[in-house]
Amino acid sequence: MIINGVMIDETFAEAFPMKATRVIITAQNSRWAMISAQAMTGFATSVIGCGCEAGIERELTPFETPDGRPGVSVMIFATSRKALAKQLESRAGQCVLTSPTSAIYAGIEDGVPLPLGKSLRYFGDGFQISKKLDGKRYWRIPVMDGEFLAEETTGMKEAVGGGNFLILAESQPQALAACDAAIEIMRKVPNVILPFPGGVVGSGSKVGSKYKSLSASTNDPFCPTLKGKTKSALGPEIESVMEIVIDGLFESAINEAMRMGIEAVCKLGTGNGVRRITAGNYGGKLGPYHFHLREIMA
C-alpha cells in the first residue's frame, strides 16, 4: 500500500491489556491546571521504567469541569490495579496536591473505584472535611494556599496500551516535522494519550539486551547509524526513524488515533522526506491486540 508516495508496510502494532484511570485537574486558570497536569504526567513514558504511562488527554473549558474552573483531563495506565492505585496516589499527592489552587476529580464515574481523596485526606491531619454532594463524596483538605478539594475515588477501566507506528524519513528534521503533524491531529482524538515526550519516541526499544540487567535495549534494526553493522530494516534513503505510541481506553480509540496520525504523515508525502510507515510488534505472540496498518488505512 502506498499513500502519497509513502509506503505502508504490511505489518501490525501489537498492544497489551492495561488498567487505566482518568482524573480531572482544575485550577484558578488554565495555565496552572496545565502545570499541575504536566507535573502529574511527568516521568511516565513507559511502564517498564516508570511504573505507569500517563499523559494529558485534553484541556477542559470551565463548562466541562465539576467546579466551573479551567481544567485538564489526565489519563494514567498501568499493568495492574495495585500498580495503578499506587501511581495515582503518589502522583496526585506529590504533583496535584502541591500545585497551587488545584483540585482533583474523577474522570471515570463507573468502573472499579480507586482511592483519590480517600488517601489524600490524611494530609489534612484531622482538619479535613468530607462533603457528599450529588451522591459523590469530596474531601476538603486545608492547605497553605487555601483549601484543596479532591473527589473520594475515581474509576478504573480495562484499557489497551502500546498501539504504535514508526515514521521513516530521509532526515531527522523531516521525521520530526511528520511527527508534529501527526501529534497535532492525534491529540484531538478522545480517550487516548501519547505518553512519550511530546508524544514522540526518539529511541524505540526492542525486547532484551546483551547486558543481563537490561530488559530492553535500542531497536538496532531501526537505528539508521547501524545500517551497515546490524540486520537493518532500513533502506539506504532512511536517515531517521521516530515512533508514536498510543494508549487508549478502547481498541477503537487507538485505531482512530493511528488512522488520523498516519493520514497526517502521509499528507506530507515523499516531497517532505517521509518514505515509509511501519509498526512495532513481537511476532503477535505477546499482545492480544493487533492493529494492522493496511486495514486501518483501507
Binding site: T26, P66, D67, G68, R69, A103, G126, F127, I129, S130, K131, K132, L133, D134, Y138, R140, G146, E147, L149
Partner: protein, 271 residues
C-alpha cells in the same frame, strides 16, 4: 403514571399515625384492601376508609388531599416513590425515610425528616422544631438525603445531624445545627440564638451575618471551591438555591463549637 389519592374526609379530632401508607408497604395491594388497612387514631384503631376517600391505582405516586397537621408519620421509612401532601403535615414527616420524594404543599410539624436516611423532602411552608433531628435519646439525626424548606424552620434544626443537606429559604430558630456531627445546613434568612450549639463537625452556610457564639473562632475570609460544587448540586431543585444569583464562593469562616470538638464551621456569605 398511576396515582393513588387519599382524600381526608374531615379533620380528625385525634392524631393519626400514617406510617402504614407508604409505597413499600402497599406495593401490589388492591385498593379495596388498602381501604381496610388499620390506622391508629389517638388510642383507637380505625380503617383507612373511615378517614379517607381512597381512589386511583396504587403506583409510584400517592397524593394526600385535604391534609391536616394531625396526620403524623407521613412517609415513615419510605423506600421509593413519591408522596404529595396537599395541605399541612403533622409530626415526624418522612421519619427515617430511605428514598423517593415527599412534597408538602403546606407546613410540617415537629421532627420532620428526623433520622432520615436518603431521598428528597420538600416543604413549601414552614417546618417545626427538630427538623432533621434525632428522636429524644437517640444520638444520630438525619443521615442522608436533602430537605428543602421554603418557609421558616423552628428550633434545633439539624440536631445531632450526621449527614445530608438541609436547605432553608426562610429563617431558622434558636439552636440551629445543635450537636451536629456532620452534614450541611444552608439558611438564607436569619438565624436565632445559640447557633451551632455543641456542634462537633458539619457546615452551617448562611446568607446573613449571624450572632456568632463566643465559642466559635473567626478563621477569616476565604474563597472555597467546594461551594461551586454545592451550588451545582442544587441546579435542578425548584428553589432559590438553584438561582444563579444565589451562588457565591466567598465566605467568612468561623470554626467551632470550641466547647465541643470544634471541627464544625459557620460559613457566612461575603458581599
Amino acid at each position: 403514571m398511576s396515582i393513588l389519592t387519599f382524600t381526608l374526609r374531615k379533620r380528625p379530632d385525634q392524631r393519626v399515625d400514617m406510617s402504614p401508607l407508604v409505597h413499600n408497604k402497599l406495593a401490589g395491594m388492591p385498593v379495596e384492601e388498602i381501604r381496610t388497612l388499620t390506622l391508629r387514631l389517638g388510642k383507637r384503631r380505625v380503617e383507612v376508609d373511615e378517614l379517607f376517600d381512597v381512589h386511583g391505582d396504587p403506583g409510584d405516586r400517592f397524593i394526600i388531599r385535604n391534609s391536616s397537621n394531625k396526620l403524623d408519620y407521613i412517609g415513615r421509612e419510605q423506600e421509593s416513590g413519591a408522596i404529595t401532601v396537599e395541605g399541612d403535615a403533622g409530626a415526624y414527616l418522612g421519619m427515617r425515610m430511605k428514598g423517593g420524594k415527599i412534597t408538602v404543599i403546606g407546613s410540617a410539624g415537629i421532627f420532620a425528616a428526623c433520622e432520615m436516611q436518603d431521598g428528597d423532602l420538600e416543604i413549601k411552608g414552614n417546618a417545626g422544631d427538630f427538623l432533621g433531628g434525632a428522636l429524644p435519646g437517640n444520638k444520630q439525626g438525619m443521615k442522608g438525603g436533602t430537605v428543602l424548606v421554603k418557609g421558616n424552620v423552628g428550633q434545633r434544626a439539624g440536631d445531632h445531624m450526621r449527614r445530608g443537606i438541609i436547605l432553608v429559604e426562610g429563617s431558622a430558630g434558636d439552636y440551629c445545627g445543635s450537636r451536629m456531627t456532620a452534614g450541611t445546613i444552608a439558611v438564607m434568612g436569619d438565624t436565632g440564638r445559640y447557633l451551632g450549639y455543641a456542634m462537633k463537625r458539619g457546615t452551617l452556610l448562611l446568607w446573613k451575618q449571624p450572632n456568632v457564639p463566643p465559642t466559635f473562632n473567626d478563621c477569616g475570609s476565604h474563597t472555597l471551591t467546594f461551594l461551586s460544587l454545592f451550588f451545582a448540586s442544587m441546579r435542578n431543585s425548584d428553589s432559590k438555591f438553584s438561582d444563579p444569583v444565589a451562588v457565591f464562593n466567598r465566605v467568612r469562616r468561623y470554626g467551632g463549637d470550641m466547647s465541643s470538638s470544634g471541627r464544625g464551621e459557620i460559613l457566612v456569605k461575603i458581599g
